[in-house]
């Protein structure tokens, strides 16, 4: 599903990641590592947001040679999402729906599931962090990505939303989608179908089967 080819990333002269060659099959992956180990950087590279050396392939689409098809196959939610305060939730929804060519009914279901209908037409500037986080998750699930990358998806979510997110991950995994997420919070392994854990050590990744 996801293939790293001689991937390297450095900030200035400080190398952060150096992944010679690695491949992840479809599944749900929990990316772990201490603060500053490069988890967010790796997720942002996979999401196509920051530059790097080497290449990544997702479902055979190279980020370098076929960036549109690659980006269509991946979707991403940031750890601390930030959106312009003057936009409304509807503005972003309609933008994502048109770019990702997703049906309106999909957004409607997600908005309803996360109980966001009351405030989705209002300006994001008046929202709480939890509301913004929910919006970023809804946007990440729009369209038909084959890999959904979630950076600290549990931060600022209430208990009901966390359970809903778990349910959604289970449902979408059943539909053949893959997930790669980071979380410093404890996750009860039985609540999510996590196939493997990925550790970032010495600038590279190691995968471990979940016991």
């Amino acid at each position: 599903m996801l293939e790293f080819i001689q991937l390297e990333k450095a900030y200035g002269s400080q190398p952060i990641l150096s992944i010679p060659s690695s491949r992840l099959d479809r599944g749900v992956y929990w990316l772990q590592g201490p603060n500053g180990s490069g988890k967010t950087t790796l997720l942002r590279i996979i999401a196509g947001i920051i530059s790097f050396k080497g290449d990544i392939r997702l479902e055979g689409h190279s980020l370098r040679r076929d960036p549109i098809a690659y980006r269509r196959a991946v979707s991403w939610a940031d750890a601390e999402p930030r959106y312009p305060a003057f936009l409304t939730g509807n503005d972003l929804l309609s933008f994502y729906l048109s770019v990702r060519k997703a049906p309106f009914s999909q957004a409607e279901q997600l908005i309803s599931a996360f109980s966001m209908a009351a405030y989705i037409p209002t300006r994001i500037g008046s929202w709480s962090d939890g509301m913004i986080k929910k919006l970023s998750l809804v946007l990440a699930f729009l369209g038909a990505p084959s890999l959904i990358v979630l950076d600290e998806p549990l931060v600022t979510l209430d208990i009901a939303s966390v359970q809903l997110l778990y349910e959604m991950i289970r449902y979408h995994r059943g539909q053949g989608r893959s997930f790669l997420f980071t979380s410093h919070q404890d996750i009860v392994l039985s609540s999510l179908p996590i196939e493997r854990k990925i550790f970032i050590r010495d600038q590279t990744i190691e995968t471990l089967a979940v016991a």
Binding site: I45, A47, I50, P67, A118, P121
Partner: protein, 367 residues
């Protein structure tokens, strides 16, 4: 003033007029600033007579007032739903009728600018015995104030129901297609309105004044262009703020499946719209005060400079000092273009450079 009223005065009315000061100033200048003081009365009297005797104009005026009412409703609804104003939901404890009266009072204060003008129209209608128009205007104002207050009241007593109405929600989401450039434009209009208005007023004003004095016998565009290039330098601040907005709050766009040509198109459209007032000003002065070739040079030089500055920000870091140095360098080159009478050629080079820098910079920066 009792407590609820004084709290609402601070939380709603003062905040509304403060936030919309630019909006009111613009309309005040538009209606009262363009006519000499001695002719104000005659001017407005003529407008009011037009409203009284031309049904189409009356409908247009009522429509504009309705738009203003919608603006007020949207603003209050937004405030009511914001976490900062959650305390407003204790207002119903005052009782249904008292709450309604208080909200009606607020709506009337919001509507005061229109009520003042409508009073003048109604007074003249009564003097001229145009009773039907006077009645229509009075009923319209009363209806708008009552409906608006009723909507605020409903939102207070039944929070979220209005915005949860599936029909409203579905329409609001479905009908609007939001292109990316509109986010950037709204960023400028909402977050940097003073800067934008200042640059536009200065740019268009200086162009108008300096070109207006040009005559066929005494024609020299070097000085107007030099001053115009200062206004272009001001646009650099807008471009810088736009890029900062993208880096900080619109990060998600990079991960979207959008071809690079379409990404470039967003900036092409954005800066065309930003530069439109200058283009209109130059076109209006053509050919009496500026020759067609020079007008083309001004427009192409200005527009290509904006695109070039934008593209440069994909290559260099977002350090303000670096950007200022770069801007000064670009204006130096541009002024050499005007001195050598090759403005259009330089603009073409700027456009080509802007395009290639964008493709190179965007790919290098975002993988």
């Amino acid at each position: 003033m009792n407590h609820p009223r004084s709290v609402l005065w601070k939380a709603l009315i003062r905040q509304y007029y403060r936030q919309n000061a630019g909006f009111f100033l613009f309309f005040f200048l538009f209606f009262f600033g363009i006519i000499a003081p001695s002719q104000q009365l005659a001017y407005h009297y003529a407008i009011i007579l037009g409203i009284l005797h031309t049904p189409a104009l009356l409908i247009l005026v009522l429509f504009c007032w309705l738009l203003y009412a919608i603006k007020c409703i949207r603003w209050i609804m937004g405030v009511q739903q914001s976490p900062d104003h959650v305390f407003l939901y204790v207002l119903p404890l005052m009782g249904r009728i008292r709450t309604f009266c208080l909200l009606l009072e607020i709506q009337i204060i919001f509507f005061l600018p229109i009520i003042f003008y409508a009073t003048a129209v109604v007074a003249i209608a009564c003097i001229q015995a145009v009773w039907s128009v006077a009645l229509v205007i009075i009923c319209f104002i009363v209806w708008i104030c009552l409906i608006s207050a009723a909507l605020y009241w409903y939102e207070l007593f039944y929070p979220g129901r209005l915005t949860r109405m599936p029909l409203l929600y579905r329409k609001a989401t479905r009908k609007k297609h939001m292109p990316y450039w509109s986010f950037l434009l709204r960023g400028l209009v909402t977050q940097h309105k003073a800067l934008l208005a200042g640059i536009k007023l200065f740019g268009c004003g200086i162009l108008y004044l300096l070109l207006k004095i040009q005559t066929p016998d005494d024609y020299d565009i070097r000085m107007p262009f030099l001053v115009f290039s200062v206004a272009l330098l001001g646009h650099g601040a807008l471009i810088y703020e736009t890029r900062r907005l993208e880096e900080e709050k619109l990060l998600f766009y990079r991960s979207m499946p959008v071809p690079i040509f379409k990404r470039l198109l967003q900036y092409v459209i954005l800066y065309l719209l930003v530069f439109l007032p200058e283009i209109i000003t130059i076109c209006r002065l053509m050919p009496d005060h500026i020759r067609i070739k020079d007008a083309l040079g001004f427009v192409s030089a200005g527009y290509s400079t904006l695109l070039l500055l934008n593209s440069c920000l994909f290559i260099i870091s977002l350090q303000r000092s670096d950007f200022i140095k770069l801007s000064l360098g670009i204006f130096g080159i541009l002024y050499f273009g005007v001195l050598s009478d090759n403005l259009i050629l330089f603009s073409g080079l700027f456009l080509l450079t802007a395009g290639s820098l964008f493709f190179r910079g965007y790919c290098r920066k975002y993988g």
